[in-house]
């Protein structure tokens, strides 16, 4: 039997959490909501079936809790995504684990990290345009093929997910982890790959001024990737908590700001005028060349307001908040999305994981049986001084 945390269909719970976390009071208690009201349950399921040759069972060593997972549990995620998943499924797409079946080039027992995208190759389909261009994150066939609908492992009923003792993965999704990378670093490879993918989505001129909104995992890794793969000039990071500020500086931020005074500080740093509308927050006429929103949408408004005319705003992380798009129109901004990873991002992320200062990023590891604590902790990670919270399913008896 396979111990698994399962997300099941429960319209009542979904609507309850979604409505409650939409209010200001509920928003503060979203951790509690996610832990207690979300349609998640721990149960024993039969072991997953291998869909085809080329697949292997994977036993997770560590499985991270991602911001999009929390959005899912609190019902904040957009209903847009409901067509791209198949219920019930086991979440968990940031995984380091051991393979249990022999595959060509990948003997059983290999320590691997998972690239969760379920493109045409795992699905056994003719490549679509995106997959043909080696950009599986843009795959058009994520509802078709050998396994059920699901944009990634962790949203698909047939594959299972990282928050369990075992799931299945296609050989193309797995990357061997060198021995020099320990599990705590390896579990961060997936978000690192997304960050690398994000900074590669747009051309970044040398010396360009960049703003990273948010200093959670995504924000920190984006900053890291900017320093590693671009020649960006000053990088300003908006961080809320003390440890985030420290870490942001460590990974190369020029200056770390708080959100309430970001506009003023950026005005001072990049020039321009500060405008104060009758309602709503201040914005800049002038500002940074590029902004990365790494906050699941709440920072998008800030990003739009402090980017110079003609600049670019990149959305990393799943957006789940509405925003006033007037600056996009008025300042003629480019709004760019960045989803998952593709191409060389994963191997590069693996390389970066070896060198980057990632010690202490995974500082809270829970067994599956303590999932409510884990979810609660992850919801308040910033406040509690953590970056990444992960499950260790091997700890469960």
């Amino acid at each position: 039997m396979n111990l698994t945390l399962e997300y099941h269909r429960s319209p009542v719970r979904y609507m309850t959490t979604r409505t409650a976390t939409g209010t200001s009071v509920g928003g503060r208690a979203s951790g509690w909501m996610a832990a207690n009201l979300s349609p998640l349950r721990l149960l024993n399921r039969p072991e997953p079936r291998l869909p085809d040759a080329g697949w292997t069972r994977v036993r997770p060593r560590l499985s991270g809790i991602c911001g999009s997972d929390l959005g899912l549990l609190t019902g904040r995620n957009s209903p847009y995504l409901s067509a791209l998943i198949s219920l019930p499924f086991t979440p968990g797409h940031e995984v380091v684990g051991d393979t249990l079946d022999d595959l060509p080039d990948l003997p059983r027992g290999s320590r691997v990290v998972l690239d969760p995208v379920l493109g045409c190759v795992p699905r056994g389909l003719e490549p679509c345009t995106g997959c043909a261009a080696d950009q599986p994150s843009r795959c058009d066939h994520i509802t078709a093929g050998r396994v059920s609908a699901g944009m990634q492992t962790g949203y698909c009923a047939d594959t299972g997910g990282g928050w369990s003792r075992m799931f299945v993965a296609h050989a193309s999704q797995l990357h061997r982890v060198p021995d020099t990378v320990d599990d705590e670093r390896a579990v961060l490879v997936e978000p690192l790959a997304c960050a690398i993918h994000t900074v590669r989505r747009v051309p970044i001129p040398d010396g360009a001024s960049v703003l990273v909104v948010g200093a959670g995992t995504v924000g920190l890794f984006t900053t890291m990737a900017l320093r590693e793969y671009t020649k960006a000039g000053p990088i300003y990071v908006i961080a809320r908590y003390g440890h985030q500020r420290e870490r942001a500086r460590e990974v190369g931020a020029t200056e770390v700001l708080t959100s309430d005074r970001a506009a003023r500080a950026l005005r001072r740093a990049t020039g321009g005028f500060l405008a104060r509308p009758d309602r709503g927050s201040e914005y800049l006429l002038g500002g940074v060349d590029l902004a990365f929103d790494c906050t699941a949408g709440s920072g998008l408004d800030t990003a739009l307001r402090v980017t110079r005319a003609g600049g670019t705003v990149v959305m990393s992380g799943m957006p789940n908040a509405g925003v006033d798009l007037t600056p996009l129109w008025f300042r003629e901004l480019n709004l760019v999305g960045a989803y998952c990873s593709s191409g060389h991002d994963f191997p590069d992320a693996l390389a970066l994981a070896q060198s980057a200062p990632l010690t202490g990023y995974v500082d809270a590891v829970y067994p599956l049986s303590r999932w409510r604590d884990a979810i609660g902790h992850a919801s308040a990670a910033g406040r509690l001084g953590s970056v990444k919270v992960a499950f260790d399913p091997t700890k469960d008896q």
């Binding site: 005074r261 003023r264 020039g271 321009g272 005028f273 500060l274």
Partner: protein, 525 residues
């Protein structure tokens, strides 16, 4: 008869003494033996003020009577001190209004058509129309606003004129209209010994280019104090500039001095010596203190800023700026000077709710610093009331709040510059240029009601002398974070503060408390 100022020595008979702390006050029991410097009691104001003004204009010092200087076809510019003085603002009618009305009366009688009124606000924020109206009066305002009653704009390059360069290489650049006038009439209120005289035109109408020659760390560190012009490097610079102006311009100076009636009758206890408080004063103290402490901060500020001082005018003098200013300074000192026998290890200052730059506004941490380490610390002649290396203890809550319209550059200065350094010289070299030329600040200074971008730096320089002189600065009741950001310390009570000061001054330090406001200037021997 008003009694002269004196130094009280705290003994066991002394009741708790009043201490201002921002928008509030408290009674504080000082350690035995502390010395408290009280100002002379308020001098009687002039009885028939209008007649006095008329007399001054008709019998100026070192000048022809004003009416002889006025003729048809001339260009007349009347410049007046802006809202940074007096503090708190005086009850209407303002003395400036009374004088300007009489000057205009004479100008009208002599057929002068081309008259402009300019507020000498230098790099201060522009005065709002309501503030202008309050200062010059309804009739003047109606006749001249908005085209001929204006604020000076130090960033309007087209309307600045360079007068020349002093022998020390200081560029003198002032308002063009004033520079091209046949006669400048300057209407002044001298609240402290630093203002008025050579400072009036050379500072009030100047540009940044000209101001930076005296508003800098070096000058201020050599102004000991800047309230004692003969010993103030800043005033030496003013004098050189004023000399140049005097050679090139025709300035008719009218100066006034005020007495110490700083607070209205209903808070009369603020003007009285504590052991002379009667039951009514004590009841008023309790009632006001309670009401004030309980009031929501916004209302509290409004109430404080709405009080106007019932000042009496103690002198009106007109004529040649230098001769007039001698008389004026004498009157100011007569009202404020108290002799003190030597400095002490610890100086205590209660900082009030207002300083020259937060009229109708918020006193932000930078302004607290400039009021405490700038204005109050420099209220001395001879030597400071604290010995070199001694400790200054201030009373102020030092809240981290800023007026977003009036003090935009202050916010950035506090958040960015002070986070990096508090050393005035380092700030001057690294940041002054940036702040002075930032186009947004300039835009807000010219078109909104903001202080000039460089102004917070000037405020910081203002305390440069004190920072060099003092061993430690402690704010009683001060917000820990904000005081720390500025390089100071905070204590919750006086006892704590003295405990903290112990490492510098020992366990039984001598203490001088400057009992102000009303303004007191210590003549320390």
């Amino acid at each position: 008869m008003s009694r002269p100022g004196f130094v009280l020595e705290v003994d066991e008979r002394t009741p708790a003494l009043l201490m201002h702390e921002g928008e509030g006050f408290r009674l504080e029991k000082l350690p035995l033996g502390s010395r408290v410097i009280y100002p002379p009691e308020s001098l009687p104001g002039l009885r028939d003020l209008d007649a006095q003004i008329r007399h001054a204009l008709a019998n100026p010092l070192g000048r022809e009577p004003l009416h002889e200087l006025l003729r048809p076809g001339m260009r007349l510019t009347i410049v007046f001190d802006d809202l940074s003085i007096p503090l708190p603002p005086m009850r209407t009618p303002d003395i400036r209004q009374r004088i300007i009305e009489q000057v205009l009366e004479l100008a009208a009688a002599n057929g002068v058509d081309d008259v402009e009124l300019i507020a000498g606000n230098a790099l201060h924020r522009r005065m709002t129309p309501a503030e202008l109206k309050r200062t010059v009066g309804e009739r003047v305002f109606r006749s001249f606003f908005p085209h001929h009653l204006r604020n000076h704009d130090a960033e309007d390059k087209a309307n600045l004129a360079e007068i020349g360069t002093t022998r020390h290489g200081e560029v003198v650049e002032i308002n063009k209209r004033a520079a091209e006038s046949d006669l400048i009439v300057y209407v002044n209120v001298s609240l402290t010994a630093m203002s008025g005289g050579p400072k009036s035109v050379s500072v009030g109408l100047a540009s940044y280019r000209s101001l930076k020659h005296h508003h800098n760390v070096h000058t201020l560190r050599h102004s000991k104090s800047f309230n004692d012009p003969p010993n103030s490097a800043m005033h030496h610079s003013y004098n050189r500039m004023a000399g140049l102006l005097g050679d090139n311009l025709n300035i008719f100076q009218i100066e006034t001095t005020l007495n110490n009636e700083t607070f209205p009758d209903y808070v009369g206890f603020l003007n009285k010596r504590e052991w002379e408080w009667n039951l009514k004063d004590q009841a008023a103290y309790l009632a006001f203190k309670r009401a004030n402490d309980l009031a929501p901060p916004k209302h509290r500020r409004q109430i404080w800023h709405r009080t106007a001082a019932p000042y009496g005018v103690t002198s009106v003098t007109a004529g040649d700026p230098i001769q007039v200013h001698e008389v004026t300074t004498r009157h100011v000192l007569r009202q404020q000077l108290t002799e003190v026998d030597g400095p002490a290890d610890v100086g205590i200052f209660g900082l009030p709710y207002i300083c020259p730059y937060n009229v109708n506004s918020i006193m932000n941490p930078i302004l607290v610093m400039s009021l405490g380490l700038g204005y109050f610390f420099n209220l001395y002649r001879g030597q400071p009331i604290v010995r070199p290396g001694g400790v200054a203890i201030y009373y102020h809550p030092v809240r981290n709040e800023f007026h977003p319209v009036h003090h935009p550059s202050y916010i950035d200065f506090f958040e960015e510059v002070l986070a990096e350094t508090t050393d005035p010289v380092a700030i001057e070299t690294k940041f002054e240029e940036q702040f002075a030329t930032d186009p947004w600040y300039i835009h807000l200074y010219r078109n909104s009601y903001a202080y000039h971008g460089v102004h917070p730096l000037y405020m910081w320089y203002w305390g440069a002398h004190a920072m060099e002189h003092l061993g430690d600065v402690i704010f009683v009741g001060g917000n820990r974070k904000t005081t720390q950001r500025m390089g100071f310390r905070s204590a919750s009570t006086l006892d704590d503060a003295l405990e903290m000061a112990r490492e510098r001054v020992g366990s039984s330090p001598s203490i001088n408390y400057l009992h102000a406001p009303p303004l007191t200037m210590a003549d320390v021997r």
